[in-house]
């Protein structure tokens, strides 16, 4: 059945891509969405089937005129297929309605085709079984994403963002090529199985690990390789942003796990330590920068950096415990990381779709111009609220379940009797806790300023609820956020199967029941999000009933209390800037904010103010510190290289001759 499912999904994506080129308007959009939806559902089914049966499948397509193309689905691939399928299905549905407003303005053909190509490449990516397949699909994925980012090419900043993305992603790609060249000893079509068995010296292994970390880190948006992410993700069409943030950056996690855990089979403790450290820093800095953002989608993009950090905390802890010979805790760490990967795909996908709906309805992403949307777009607001609560790790939603596991893993560090772990782990726990606390603050701001109170602009005041297809896309992910949140007792065993399939860590039998207790030597903790959800609902309803019976029922609608002022206008509301102000002052060392205040007084008296202009910006100082030298070196090198290209035909002929001669000599020599 599995090969048919794979064919079906490839066929779906291909049909969608072709339909985008062939049809226009509504029909084109519908066919693109149908193709992508069909393909992603088939992907989902394939992943679920592989994971359920535990089978490892090798896909052979001898009738394809492709040599060196190898596909294989093992349990880890299966898990990531599920992640791809889930987010892609919701995004495709949503994309049908969302891309309507692009009709006539931007190229729907390119958007539809590239969207399907991206999904196709994602599906094939996780199935790749040799270096060549892996790298080719990696590049197809990056390039299709590049074109998708460029969709709104005439908007300010889009081209710049796309260029940054292209540059950074290719730097990472270079590192990946190098990593695989070393790993495969030059044989790019040799299967992964061969790489697993090859014995490398510790030095080479470390080199491969570091190269892979850089390569996959750029894709995952790990600080300090994240700069492109908050630029590129917001400018893409929102359903594409959902896939980019929900799935594409997860390929970094997939690649890292595939290479370090599967191909290299784990390494010394400092590998895990580095991943853990990067994760902790990304989690904290990601959310801190998100707090200062007033562009709704940029805020979400920074939260992707944060959540990748949380995932890497789990994965890094897993790698670390594996090298310390604590397989149970290692399993737990990897499970936590994978669980959060799946969860993040759901809630971040949902939030980007919600932000897209806001943009669709109001034509702005600037939170300072929004407000009051909860009354104009109640369903979008409710969906966004669920996503916001989930990403803030509030029980009983899915973000909490996986963050709880990450916490438990890190606390398991108490079992490692080494001083650096004993001091490092509490700090990692603290950074994770601080970032999740700040995430709550950030999403109170994101939801509160965007959806609550009075609209701050006429566009926001005129907003209407979005079309049904967009709502369905969001609702699908809302369902997943709730379902994944209350059923860890089903998800965690499935994830442990996904890990067991790799055969790299002896999977210890961990008893999972309705309660999700895990008993790993020395550390235990129990919780049951399902009972918690039921309990919360029960207590809430009970309170409402008791109140209805015993308390006064009168309710009067009046003005908002504002110390008796005459009217209420949006100008009296708290702004996003004001909301984040206390935290900006607390973390002023990091932000180094610049402030610019100009007041226009009335000519007669300075007690009457005509207008106040306030600007404040946060300095991304450490990005500048890191990237400015690199960029200036690049520019310098480029200027020098330019001298070679003088525009003289004679010179070019000379180059050609020299090149030919050199090649001949080399060919003669190497024979």
């Amino acid at each position: 059945m599995a090969p048919e499912l794979l064919l079906l999904s490839v066929a779906g994506y291909t049909a969608g891509a072709l339909a985008a080129l062939a049809f226009r308007g509504m029909v084109g959009r519908a066919l693109v969405a149908a193709g992508a939806l069909g393909g992603s559902l088939a992907t989902l089914a394939l992943g679920a089937w592989c994971l359920a049966t535990g089978a490892t499948l090798v896909f052979a397509a001898p009738w394809l005129p492709l040599t060196g193309f190898a596909l294989r689905a093992d349990s880890l691939s299966a898990f990531f297929l599920i992640v791809v399928g889930l987010a892609a299905a919701a995004a495709s549905l949503y994309g049908f309605g969302y891309s309507a407003h692009y009709d006539g303005r931007y190229s729907l053909r390119l958007l539809g085709a590239m969207f399907n190509v991206l999904l196709l490449s994602l599906t094939v990516q996780v199935l790749a079984d040799n270096a060549l397949t892996f790298l080719v699909t990696w590049e197809v994925m990056s390039l299709s994403a590049y074109f998708l980012v460029l969709t709104e090419h005439d908007q300010a900043g889009t081209v710049r963002a796309a260029n940054w993305y292209l540059g950074v992603t290719h730097a990472g790609f270079a590192a990946l090529i190098a990593a695989f060249l070393v790993l495969a000893a030059g044989d790019m079509t040799g299967s992964f199985a061969a790489m697993r068995s090859v014995g490398l010296t510790p030095g080479t292994r470390n080199l491969v690990f570091l190269l892979a970390l850089v390569g996959f880190g750029t894709k995952a948006g790990v600080i300090p390789l994240h700069v492109w992410l908050p630029m590129a993700h917001p400018v893409a069409p929102s359903h594409v942003s959902a896939v980019l943030s929900g799935v594409v950056i997860k390929m970094g996690v997939y690649g890292l796990m595939r290479v370090t855990l599967d191909l290299l089979g784990g390494g010394p403790a400092w590998w895990g330590g580095i991943v853990l450290g990067l994760g902790a820093v990304s989690a904290l800095l990601g959310v801190l920068y998100a707090l200062m953002e007033h562009d709704l989608k940029r805020l979400l993009a920074y939260h992707s950096v944060e959540n990748m950090g949380i995932i890497l905390l789990g994965v890094g802890a897993g790698l670390m415990f594996q090298s310390y010979g604590l397989p149970a805790l290692a399993t737990l760490g990897f499970i936590a990381g994978l669980y959060h990967t799946l969860n993040h795909a759901c809630f971040k996908g949902l939030l980007f779709l919600g932000a897209g709906s806001v943009q669709y309805a109001t034509k702005t992403r600037n939170m300072e111009d929004l407000g009051g949307l909860i009354k104009r777009m109640p369903r979008t607001a409710a969906c966004f609220l669920v996503g916001a609560a989930a990403i803030s790790a509030l029980p009983p939603l899915n973000g909490f379940a996986s963050e709880w596991l990450v916490f438990q893993t890190l606390m398991g560090g108490a079992l490692v009797p080494r001083p650096e772990v004993a001091i490092g782990m509490p700090i990692a726990v603290a950074m994770l806790a601080l970032s999740s606390g700040l995430a709550v603050a950030c999403f109170v701001k994101a939801f509160g300023i965007t959806f609550l109170a009075l609209p701050r602009s006429t566009d926001a005041a005129r907003a209407r609820e979005v079309p049904a297809s967009m709502q369905v896309g969001m609702l699908l992910l809302v369902g997943m956020c709730v379902a994944l949140g209350v059923t860890p007792f089903l998800v965690v065993p499935a994830l442990s199967r996904a890990l067991a399939g790799l055969g790299r860590i002896p999977v210890t039998p961990i008893g999972f029941s309705l309660h999700l207790p895990f008993s790993v030597a020395g550390v235990t903790g129990e919780m049951s999000p399902l009972l918690l959800a039921v309990g919360l609902a029960l207590l809430g309803v009970l309170t409402a009933i008791v109140l209805r019976l015993l308390a006064d029922r009168r309710l009067r609608v009046g003005d908002t209390w504002g110390c008796g002022r005459i009217g209420q206008t949006p100008r009296m509301e708290y702004t996003a800037t004001a909301f984040a102000e206390p935290l900006r002052r607390v973390f002023a060392e990091l932000y180094r904010p610049t402030e610019d205040l100009s007041i226009d007084f009335h000519p007669k008296s300075k007690y009457f103010v005509r207008s106040i202009a306030y600007r404040s910006e946060v300095q991304p100082w450490f990005e500048r510190l890191l990237y400015t030298p690199v960029l200036s070196a690049l520019r310098g090198a480029a200027a020098r290289v330019r001298q070679v290209q003088a525009g003289s035909l004679h010179l070019y002929l000379a180059y050609l001759t020299i090149a030919l001669l050199v090649l001949l000599v080399v060919a003669r020599w190497s024979r």
Partner: protein
Amino acid sequence: MLLFLKILKAGIVTEPLAPGEPDVIEVAREVETKARRLLGRAVAIREVDAGSCNGCEIEITGLTGPVYDSERFGIHFVASPRHADLLLVTGPVTRNMEIPLLKTYEATPDPKIVVAVGDCARTCGVFRGSYAVVGSVDAVIPVDVFVSGCPPEPTDILRGILTALDRLPKRKRRRDGT
């Protein structure tokens, strides 16, 4: 440490309910029984300065101090009319405070009572006829009780609050809604 020694030495300075100044005690007792009957002995007061000279405010502040200690009767001041049961209005209502006063009244949930404190609140006092003054408090919102005095003593204010509590509609009827 020194602070706590001092606290210990000073003892309770609140006027006792037992024999003493008959005036205060009588009022206090009455407030106690009435407040218990009418508002479950928990009265939240929102103070509105509608334009007073702040003489009345100083007396009102005395209510919360250790000597009069209105908190012992369950009377306390709150920060929002939404939390209040009783509005304590002082001063003649100035033009600038007319709408805020009305808004405060509207913002207070039922059942609510209004006590106007001081001579100005009733007659505008020396401010009568000023271009800046709208009129007495009852020209703007319905007043249940006036407390005379310029300024009235805390005891008088307590008595005013007590009288106003008397005018609260009975709870049974309130329950049905209006």
